[in-house]
């Protein structure tokens, strides 16, 4: 089956090749619809983000942008398809921290190299995570939580939306940096994890701000800190993990646009400009903020450097915590 899909990919690549990689200059690009691969199923944050940005990109590029969901294996299915496409700017991947910084260390075998097989276009935005606890735990700060965990080693649990997810890795980072003994409990998604946190079955979780804030406002969860470098505009009273005494603690879910490696630089530049213009549309910015995304819009170089530093950080956490998939 893989072979057949590879063959189909090859046939498509060959067909495009005949018509013209030499033709793929920035002055004629784009001359046909652009395919935007999304690594997660319809309705998730990645998908909604892709549809919001894709709709505007459509207007910026003057060509339709077709969202193509290829969910599976933590994003690897879509990434594998993306690296096999012709590097002509007609196939893009909406990638995230899992695909570009974590999966290479989580999975034993990966048929692509996140650092060399993609040409970064732009970092679209970050979703801050919030360390939330159930109010009945009786802690009001990160320091109190660490003290409690030290007093009751091995008794507190942290929830995540699955093994190897951003929520899990943030928890492992917390465990390692704070030097505490807390137990990971995996759930099949954010919703069941939050349900158990609210009903006091587990004690803490790193949840995306968009999932956590309604509960914090309703008083059913207590937020202790945000995992971004700066305080979040949505929750200005909440300290960052760094302010709370954990130096260098940053754990966000981020989304960025990448093209297959060897995509001509002019096309990457054109895509970068178009995407950043799209992100600056007030309508787009407002919707992304509604999703809890802090819009960034970096240059390709900045994004490449960011991927590298994230990859080093999470590779280290994954190895030290012994997390693996497969």
């Amino acid at each position: 089956m893989l072979a057949r899909r590879g063959l189909a990919g090859f046939a498509i690549a060959a067909a495009i090749g005949l018509r013209g990689v030499p033709d793929a200059r920035a002055d004629t690009y784009p001359s046909k619809p652009v395919r935007l691969l999304v690594a997660f199923p319809p309705g998730g944050p990645s998908d909604v983000l892709a549809r919001i940005v894709g709709q505007q990109l459509n207007a910026e590029l003057g060509q339709s942008v077709i969202v193509d969901n290829r969910p599976g294996a933590g994003g690897n299915v879509a990434a594998e398809i993306a690296v096999k496409q012709a590097p002509d700017g007609y196939a893009l991947l909406l990638a995230n921290n899992s695909i570009l910084a974590a999966n290479a260390f989580l999975y034993k075998r990966l048929s692509f190299d996140p650092l060399t097989d993609f040409a970064p276009v732009t970092l679209i935005g970050r979703q801050p995570n919030i360390l939330v606890v159930s109010p009945s735990l009786g802690v009001g700060s990160v320091a109190q939580l660490i003290a409690l965990a030290k007093a009751r080693p091995g008794q507190l649990n942290f929830a995540s939306s699955g093994n190897g997810t951003a929520a899990h890795l943030a928890g492992e980072l917390f465990r390692l940096r704070a030097g505490i003994d807390i137990v990971h409990v995996a759930y099949p998604g954010v919703a069941p994890a939050l349900t158990d946190l609210i009903s006091d079955q587990v004690q803490m979780m790193f949840a995306t701000s968009v999932a956590a804030i309604p509960f914090m406002k309703g008083g059913t969860l207590r937020g202790l800190a945000v995992t971004t470098a700066q305080r979040s505009s949505a929750m200005p009273d909440l300290p960052t993990m760094m302010e709370a005494g954990l130096p260098d603690f940053e754990a966000t879910t981020w989304h960025g646009l990448v093209a297959p490696a060897r995509t001509p630089a002019p096309i990457v530049t054109q895509l970068n400009t178009a995407t950043i213009d799209a992100l600056h549309q007030p309508d787009v910015a407002r919707r992304l903020t509604g999703l809890g995304v802090d819009v960034v819009g970096s240059t390709p170089e900045e994004f490449a450097t960011y991927i590298k530093s994230e990859s080093i950080k999470w590779g280290d956490v994954i190895k030290r915590a012994g997390v693996h998939i497969g």
Partner: protein
């Protein structure tokens, strides 16, 4: 009274020309995707999501939810007419709905399904209007130990109550449980039975198995049979249910509605499990159990009501807690967040127009569906007169599109074809596919809940008996086993006396 003021606001919002049209559009679209096998509300909602960005929040929610409950409403149509469920939660309707169609009683089956759906939908809306906040708390009382015990009860009930031979049913259940383990284990990250293929890394989607074992297998067995196998044995009698049909159906509709409303509140269960549970319940309560599987109207009325009641109460945890109780609800949650509305404890007070408007539109939508569907019964009946050589390719095409659209993966279509062959083998060997399906759906819930319960209690089994709800469920499970053992013993004795049966 407050409620009337709220309802007045709600209907004021829902009856504006725009919103009313969106409601009609959503319900009609939902009916369409519900009728087409394989294509479900999930794909439709996801595809239409970007179009709703420009609409008002209320209008977008009204339309999207219309698609959702409309599909649940209509899914039974193809189940009854073609033995091919239009959407997963209607699977169980095949069991008795299709035999009814074969006996020339498709009209009554469709009418009872439509009435049952409307009644259950209305009841769900009323429940939502009266008790949303307190009911939402029910979801919070169910943690890992409760889910583990609930699933245990369901699995035992299926095996005990399913038709056919006992050991065969146990075997089919176990096969379903095994199929459910395929994929990445969420606890440890270990890949199970994936054979190194990323296509299997997330497990097998339910739609693949349902389409394979039911729709594809049905097509294969019909091709194998004589052509006359398809035409109804009895001529079409009446389009409308007889008084005796109504008399037999109203109690199952009531029971199904209550059961479905309750199970719809739990994030772990929802419409599909409710319809299975309602079927088991009806079969259990029936005086003459042999009628089930041969066109018992109770087997259509109960599950169909349960399915639709659950489809409505499924909204309660999403709207009032911000906890989506399933994939479709997660999509709705996404749609609301994009519009700047955060569902949760404060949503009803912060956005009363959205909450009450949506609620009113749900009732209007259910009424529209009834008005839409009853005249359509006459048209659906004619499906049976379409020559099989035209019908089969159409069914296959829609099924393939539906399976493909789950993950946009051609691997899944091949996998469904494999399950089609397996399903055909099952029907040749007279193995009931229902226990397999139930095992497949509930297996992962059981495994994850059991392991999580034990992880949280640090391995202490007492966690299951120390909690009142899980203890009650365990006692119920023990009762079911005892009941099965007793009736087995009794049947064994009766068989020893020739002539009694």
């Amino acid at each position: 009274m407050d409620l009337f003021a709220h309802l007045a606001t709600g209907f004021g919002v829902a009856l504006t020309p725009d919103n009313f049209l969106y409601c009609l559009l959503g319900a009609t679209l939902g009916t369409l995707v519900g009728v087409l096998p394989g294509i479900g509300p999930l794909t439709t909602i996801a595809m239409l999501l970007p179009l709703t960005f420009k609409m008002t929040p209320v209008a977008s929610l009204i339309m999207l939810s219309g698609i959702y409950y409309g599909a649940h409403h209509a899914g039974s149509t193809t189940a009854i007419m073609l033995n091919t469920p239009g959407d997963p939660s209607s699977l169980v309707i095949c069991l008795d709905g299709h035999p009814m169609a074969r006996q020339g009683r498709a009209g009554p089956a469709l009418c009872i399904a439509a009435f049952g759906s409307f009644f259950a939908g209305s009841f769900g809306v009323l429940l939502m209007a009266l008790f949303s906040p307190p009911l939402a708390g029910v979801a919070l009382r169910f943690a890992a130990p409760e889910y583990a015990c609930l699933v245990l009860v369901a699995l035992i009930a299926t095996v005990v109550l399913a038709r056919g031979r006992f050991l065969l049913n146990v075997g089919m259940s176990v096969l379903g449980l095994l199929l459910g383990t395929v994929g990445t284990d969420i606890e440890s990250g270990t890949m199970r039975f994936t054979f190194g293929s990323p296509n299997l890394a997330d497990g097998i989607n339910f739609i693949i198995i349902a389409v394979g074992v039911f729709a594809f297998a049905e097509v294969i067995s019909n091709l194998g049979r004589d052509r006359i196998g398809r035409t109804p044995a009895a001529p079409l009698r009446s389009l409308w249910p007889r008084r005796s049909d109504l008399a037999a159906a109203w109690k199952p509709i009531l029971r199904g509605t209550v059961l479905g409303s309750a199970l719809g509140l739990l994030p772990g269960t929802g419409p599909m499990v409710s319809s299975f549970a309602a079927y088991s319940l009806e079969r259990q309560l029936a005086k003459d159990r042999s009628r089930f599987g041969n066109g018992a109207i109770e087997g259509v009325a109960g599950p169909e009501a349960a399915n639709n009641a659950a489809a409505i109460t499924h909204f309660i945890p999403m709207l009032t807690l911000g906890i989506p109780a399933g994939a479709a609800m997660a999509l709705m949650l996404g749609a609301m967040l994009v519009q700047g509305i955060a569902p949760g404890p404060r949503m009803i007070s912060e956005h009363p127009d959205v909450f009450w408007g949506l609620l009113a539109s749900m009732w209007l939508g259910n009424l529209m569906l009834l008005v839409l569907n009853l005249p359509l019964v006459g048209i659906w009946i004619r499906l049976l007169t379409i020559p099989y050589r035209i019908l089969v390719p159409a069914i296959l095409v829609f099924c393939c599109i539906g399976v493909y659209s789950v993950n946009n993966s051609s691997f899944d279509v091949v996998l469904a074809a494999g399950f089609g062959v397996l399903g055909y083998a099952f029907s040749m060997l007279r193995c009931q596919p229902m226990p397999l399906i139930v095992g497949f759906i509930l297996g992962p819930v059981l495994e994850q809940s059991l392991r999580r319960a034990l992880l949280l209690s640090r391995g202490d089994l007492a966690t299951f008996v120390m909690r009142p709800i899980s203890l009650t469920l365990l006692i119920f499970a023990a009762g079911l086993i005892l009941y099965a053992a007793l009736s087995w013993y009794r049947d064994g004795r009766r068989q020893a006396l020739p002539g009694v049966r």
